[in-house]
Amino acid sequence: MSDALTSLDRPNSYIGRSVPRPNAKRLLAGRGRYVTDIVLPRMLHAAFVRSPYAHARIVSIDTEAAQRMPGVRLVATGKDIARVCKPWVGTLDHFKGMKSPPQLPLPLDKVVWSGQAVVAVVADTRALAEDAAEAVVVEFEELPVVVDIDAARAPGSPVISPELGDNVCFHGKIDTGGIDDIFASAAHVVDEEFHFGRHTAVTMEPRAIIADYDPNEMRLTAHHATQTPYQFQDIYSRHFGIPEANVRVIAPDIGGSFGMKLHVYHEDMAIVGLSMILGRPVKYVADRIESFVSDIHARDHRVRARMALDADGTILAMDVDDVTAVGPFSAYPRTSVVEGNQVFRLIGTPYRFQNYRADLQVVFQNKVQMSQYRAVGHPIAFAVTERLVDMAAAKVGLDPVEIRSRNLIPDDAYPCAGPAGYKFEALSHHVCLARLREMMDYDRLRAEQIELRKQNIYRGIGVASFVEISNPGPAFYGVGGARISSQDGAVLTITPSGDVRCAISVTELGQGTETIIGQIIGEHLGVDRERIKVITGDTETTPHGGAVWACRGAGIGGEAALGAARKLKENVISLAGSILQEQPDKLDVRAGWIVDADTGRQRIELSEIARIAYFRSDTLPPGVQAQLTVAHHYAPQGYPFAFTNGIQASHVELDVETGFVKILKHWVVEDCGRIINPLLVDEQMRGGVVQGLGAAFFEECTYNETGQLTNGSLADYLVPMAVEMPDIEIAHVETPTLDTELGAKGCGEAGTAASPAAALNAVNDAMAPFGASIAQLPMTPARILKALGRIS
């Protein structure tokens, strides 16, 4: 009988099991509590007067009429808030030579993008604040606008921040040497110029913050819709001069973040300042139009790239030039260079070749700031790489799967490093490729494609390999001087009833952090997960940590929880040994009972141990002090990042008359190491894929030549909706990282990392019979028709 049992049949064997999220039930009942929903006593509401110009000098501000409007409590300008807030600069030391001007919540003398907040109005209601905002008169004097990336770098271009000398934020180079010679003598060379538009997170819940400053105790409580409360605790403390221990940041239920809600925003800093000036709680919730002009945008790259191959289709080298535009300054505190840095370091990484040259220029312009959003840099890197691989396959005369099979890093070649310096512990590209081929029935789809073309039905198949950065150590931000933690901490307690409470620094955004932490603790402590309460998102009640970004929640937070569970279990067993007069190594904890390790015979219930410890310590042997609370921290050591890998495929049908693309199906095979909850991992994949497909087909922040966003509403900016999205089939390969006991890597960004690449290849494959090609995202119907030569 024991033969039929798997590890999942043991009591409390939760790791690897699909269990639903206990905390989802209140959301389903409409009982979520988002910042948007929170009301505090004497709370006021803020609205902002925004710049209609992309670049202008502020000549004068007249707030007199606004101040007299009903319900108005304060009208504040840049000067007012600068008195309480120190400026910030979005640079990191490890990006040598990068520069960015100092920023303040509201500008003092000029505006640098259209939509920038200029004046804050605080009133009894949001409606009254908006009424008064309309009565504020700001006189602007327009300045020359810098929009285009080439014009921004041209000699004589207007410089947005004259003190910096030019509009170049950062210039990076990678060169392994001899690239020109390799290209000159290569049997095959393919090249392309790619354009990737700006898009944005469009979280369902817009940005929201309530700052509540109590001048009596110099205490700031910020209810802040963010994924990184500890980072903001540090920032509010330092920039507003409040002792860190007096700053409490609470991130309750968050209505989507995807990297967007971890950056410093001018309005949010202004709200903290306004609350300090007023000594009352002040709330700000961005409306959707404000979100479009003030949330970070993502991507915005022009990449020129070429690939050299030998006669057999072996990739020899890549040569890349990426120019990315980031707005008028670099975002704080993570900078706007990370996106481009990851593009030019990730290009080509699934493949064996070691010759690489890349140039990265990060450029300032008069648009809203660009910075990290889900899958930072990855979608660009793999769209460029994978498209060139497909172009090379066509040139050499190989099937796209075959050329990948010849060039992907062999599964037995690890550990190894890529030409840009990334180190890979163990990846599974070939297993994934084989699995994908089988899962999608690749050969049948190819045969069907040929048949359907005879009926003028044009289907395309696109394949895209990828790697994903996860579990980042301090190499990511800490070494550059950012006060962003790479460690996470957990405090684990057995309560008097024998329940378990875990306060942990990784945060919940609906991805299931609390669920997986509960699973890990349940398994390693030996208790039912129904008895475990996981607490997140409050700097006052949880240990300081990195929280969630760059796919670190499971790998780093999970390892911290595992360590805490181990420690606590040791304490419980030691105490039980004292009570039972038994050797601790003969005992174990299972399903909330202390049992004989060998036989599983139940000896004493955990609740009874807790009762004795808390209420009858007099019955313990002399000298025994129960330790039913433990703390454990974990920071990654070993590899700087735990790379994951995988492959995706997209199957599309192109209507060559209209340029419309129907996405028929999408497949993902991914390897994120040890899977804690397959249900949640699959849903991270699917959601990620769809965000990538949005970027591939629909989403783009369009600007005109004066730097005005021309589609800043949800009626004009297209997001993927249910009817356009395909069913997505997912399979897993598990190569655990050996850097941790848990073995988990991240999975939140893999879907987004390569779905645009797969889609780009699929559309190009569908167009192939017409000799047409496209290298711009999003692939709108108009761009597709243009590529097909049907419109000019």
Partner: protein, 168 residues
């Protein structure tokens, strides 16, 4: 123009009477005056579906109508449907299938699901996707939501048949 107007209406089975300003949307009225914060606002222009409520039995965007227009009506929000337990099976299917992440779109999704599943028969996956196309979700990629609704549709038809058979 800004003089408050008194309205009376039924919300989640309770008669309520309040003064509202003419410019106040039904969504703001529900969220702020009645503290029914399960109704969410994502776009304030009738695109995203987070604010859907039932008005006299019809699914409507509460951000697109004024509170004064709802005077005399019967309004039901996610809180009301939950308390009446008429969507308990849909909520359970969403929970089991993890058809939500951040949960911000979820009340609106459940409104659409409630309306769709009130029609006879089992909708196809395409029908479900079509019905959901006024509900924006940034987290899930939609498939799990389609799965959950499909599951409930099948279960309800099956339960109906079993009831018929038992009755016959």
């Amino acid at each position: 123009m800004s003089t408050p107007v008194n309205i009376s209406l039924t919300v989640n089975g309770e008669m309520v009477s309040r003064n509202v300003t003419p410019r106040e949307t039904l969504a703001d009225f529900l969220r702020i005056s009645l503290e029914l914060t399960g109704t969410h606002m994502g776009c304030e222009m009738g695109v995203c579906g987070a604010c859907l409520v039932l008005l006299d039995g019809q699914v409507v965007h509460s951000c697109l109508m004024f509170a004064v227009q709802a005077g005399g009506s019967v309004v039901e929000t996610i809180e009301g449907l939950t308390e009446r337990a008429v969507i308990a099976d849909i909520q359970d299917a969403f929970h089991q299938r993890n058809a939500l992440q951040c949960g911000f779109c979820t009340p609106g999704m459940l409104m659409t699901a409630y309306a769709l599943l009130s029609r006879p028969g089992i909708p196809s996956r395409d029908d479900i996707r079509d019905a959901l196309s006024g509900n924006y979700c940034r987290c899930t990629g939609y498939e799990s939501i389609v799965d959950a609704i499909e599951t409930v549709a099948r279960r309800r038809v099956l339960a109906g048949r079993q009831l018929e058979e038992a009755g016959a």
